[in-house]
């Protein structure tokens, strides 16, 4: 399977359910279609006094022009933490339109990997 096939075959959950599992009420999110939501100020206010979870920073050695997979690693680690039964969440940067039209930074690197190695890329986001 190619990257896009893997992504299109993934089974997505309704974002309201994902939010609910995080303890967010319906008033605390604004959905943008079925799979995206914004988290509102109410969520900040209600969770203000709550104890913080653990913060994990993913960084890298100096990269080659292709990048070394920080985002891949971050996603893999968060998914891996779930696999071992831990409640994890990702906090990542937002890609911009210009990178898609330019050279598709968020996916091309992994496509380059796929085509040169025949590997399967299973981690791509599904929005």
């Amino acid at each position: 399977m190619s990257d896009i096939e893997i992504a299109r075959n993934a089974k997505l959950r309704d974002i309201r359910d994902v939010a609910k599992d995080l303890g967010l009420s319906e008033e605390e999110i604004e959905t943008y279609g079925k799979y995206k939501a914004k988290i509102t100020e109410e969520a900040f206010k209600r969770n203000n006094g709550k104890k913080d979870g653990k913060l994990i920073l993913v960084t890298a050695i100096n990269p080659t022009p292709l990048g070394e997979g920080k985002t891949t690693m971050s996603i893999g680690l968060a998914d891996g933490l779930r696999k071992i039964g831990k409640k994890s969440i990702l906090a990542l940067r937002e890609p911009s339109l210009r990178t898609s039209i330019w050279y598709k930074r968020w996916s091309s690197r992994r496509r380059i990997c796929t085509s040169s190695t025949n590997g399967r890329y299973k981690l791509t986001f599904y929005w």
Binding site: G53, T59, K122
Partner: protein
């Protein structure tokens, strides 16, 4: 699903609109008599597309009465100070205050004129009222992901928003975040700028390494890095070891190396790296998440959970009350391993003015090549002693940091000869191709 790479929830468009509203208010003010006395405008327009034609433009050419012709230029939206501000703001009030502090130009006496002087902070904040709220999505394995904000990692601090990270820490037991480029730029700014601003401290740091990057730093060319090359691998280890030393000993954090496994990596190479790290007392995990998803990162996850329980001894590279030059010098010598910093006359002049304006206590954000510890992108091995060259110093009073330019920084890139746009298409059923 391609949404994320297109308009997503519109945050970046909102930032473009806010940035350009401010630009329009400046020129409008000048058109109606220039009461504030703009002599020099430093606020540029922006666009979320790579369009090199717009790097430098001449505008106001319509020859109408009152129209002032001047030089201008565009940056890409992620390079706009608005993006940095949004990512460092705690809430709407903070966002508004920071927008008010943006310096948009200077008058005859070289005194700064701010967005607040133009009464612009309210309307810009209105345009950003939804953009300031983090976006929730999920990974292919249904792990929740907050995706929010993405400033440049050279002329800005390169991390997702403070609001997203803080909220992530409240909503889950483990919040995984990242910082742009290598640890010399990304992690340093994450720690010295973002963590300081948001009062955060990482419980564990994962430093990603690949065989190809190690070999690249050991002198192998881009074309050669896919072949086994023990000599280049051994030579390239210095780069990884220096980053680990910085994270462990300079910042006092708990660190693990994660090897992002590629199918071209040989067993011999992996064994060598594992032994080398063991010799140096560095924890590591071989990760195959790329091929196997979360299952390929179980070992890393187990080790990270343990690492998070260890005490850390986190400290910043510099304190805010130190002199601006000293803060820059500390990053250069402690983190990059430079001998010293050479300041251009222009840089010294700007630092003097920044201090005069009362902004000398801000953190510094160094814009440097991501390929080398030095400011020379070709100096991969950094064998010889080197200096960092502070060529230009720019105050970002809204974002709240001082940018130090050490080389040519591109804030409006161009498209390549064959842009991805040529292969992007949509069929009669609305299926998009070529964007993934």
């Amino acid at each position: 699903m391609e949404d994320i790479n297109l308009h997503f929830t519109g945050d970046i468009h909102a930032m473009t609109a806010a940035n350009n509203l401010l630009a329009a208010l400046i020129d409008n003010h000048i058109f109606f008599g220039n009461e504030l006395g703009f002599k020099r405008v430093v606020w540029k327009r922006c666009l979320d597309l790579n369009d090199r034609q717009l790097r430098k433009i001449r505008c106001g050419l319509s020859h109408e009465k009152g129209m002032v012709e001047r030089d201008d230029g565009f940056d890409i939206t992620v390079a706009s100070e608005i993006m940095a501000i949004l990512c460092l703001s705690k809430d709407l009030e903070d966002l508004k205050a920071r927008i008010g502090r943006i310096i948009v130009g200077y008058n005859e006496k070289d005194e700064p004129i701010t967005a607040k002087d133009l009464k612009a902070e309210g309307s810009l904040t209105v345009l950003l009222k939804d953009a300031i709220n983090p976006n929730l999505v999920q990974t292919l394995e249904n792990t929740p992901a907050i995706v929010h904000g993405g400033p440049f990692a050279n002329i800005a601090h390169g991390c997702n928003s403070i609001r997203a990270t803080r909220l992530g820490l409240k909503l889950a037991d483990y919040c995984v975040t990242e910082a742009g480029f290598g640890a010399d730029l990304g992690a340093e700014k994450f720690l010295d700028i973002k963590c300081r601003e948001a009062n955060l401290k990482p419980d564990a740091v994962v430093c990603v390494a690949t065989m190809r990057a190690l070999k690249y730093h050991g002198g192998a060319s881009k074309e050669e890095v896919q072949q086994e090359n023990m000599e280049a691998l051994e030579k390239g280890m210095h780069n990884l070891l220096r980053h680990i030393d910085n994270l462990k000993n300079k910042f006092g954090l708990n660190v693990i190396v994660a090897i992002n496994r590629f199918l071209t990596d040989t067993d011999k190479e992996i064994e060598f790296l594992q032994n080398k790290l063991k010799e140096n007392g560095i924890e590591m995990s071989l990760v195959e998440a790329w091929a196997k998803g979360g299952n390929g990162a179980r070992d890393l996850a187990e080790k990270v959970v343990k690492l998070c329980e260890k005490e850390e001894n986190f400290k910043f590279t510099y304190e805010l009350d130190e002199e601006v030059e000293e803060k820059i010098r500390k990053i250069a010598t402690k983190i990059y391993g430079a001998e010293d910093v050479e300041f251009s006359e222009e840089a010294m002049e700007s630092i003097k003015q920044i201090k005069k304006l009362g902004y000398g206590n801000l953190p510094v954000c160094i814009a440097k090549t991501q390929y080398s510890f030095s400011d020379d992108p070709k100096n991969l091995e950094c064998k010889e002693k080197f200096n960092i060259h502070a060529q230009e110093v720019i105050l970002k009073s809204g974002a709240g940091f001082i940018v130090v330019i050490t080389g040519k920084m591109m804030t409006m890139p161009g498209l390549p000869k064959v842009p991805a746009a040529e292969s992007i298409d949509i069929d009669e059923n609305g299926n998009i191709v070529g964007i993934f």
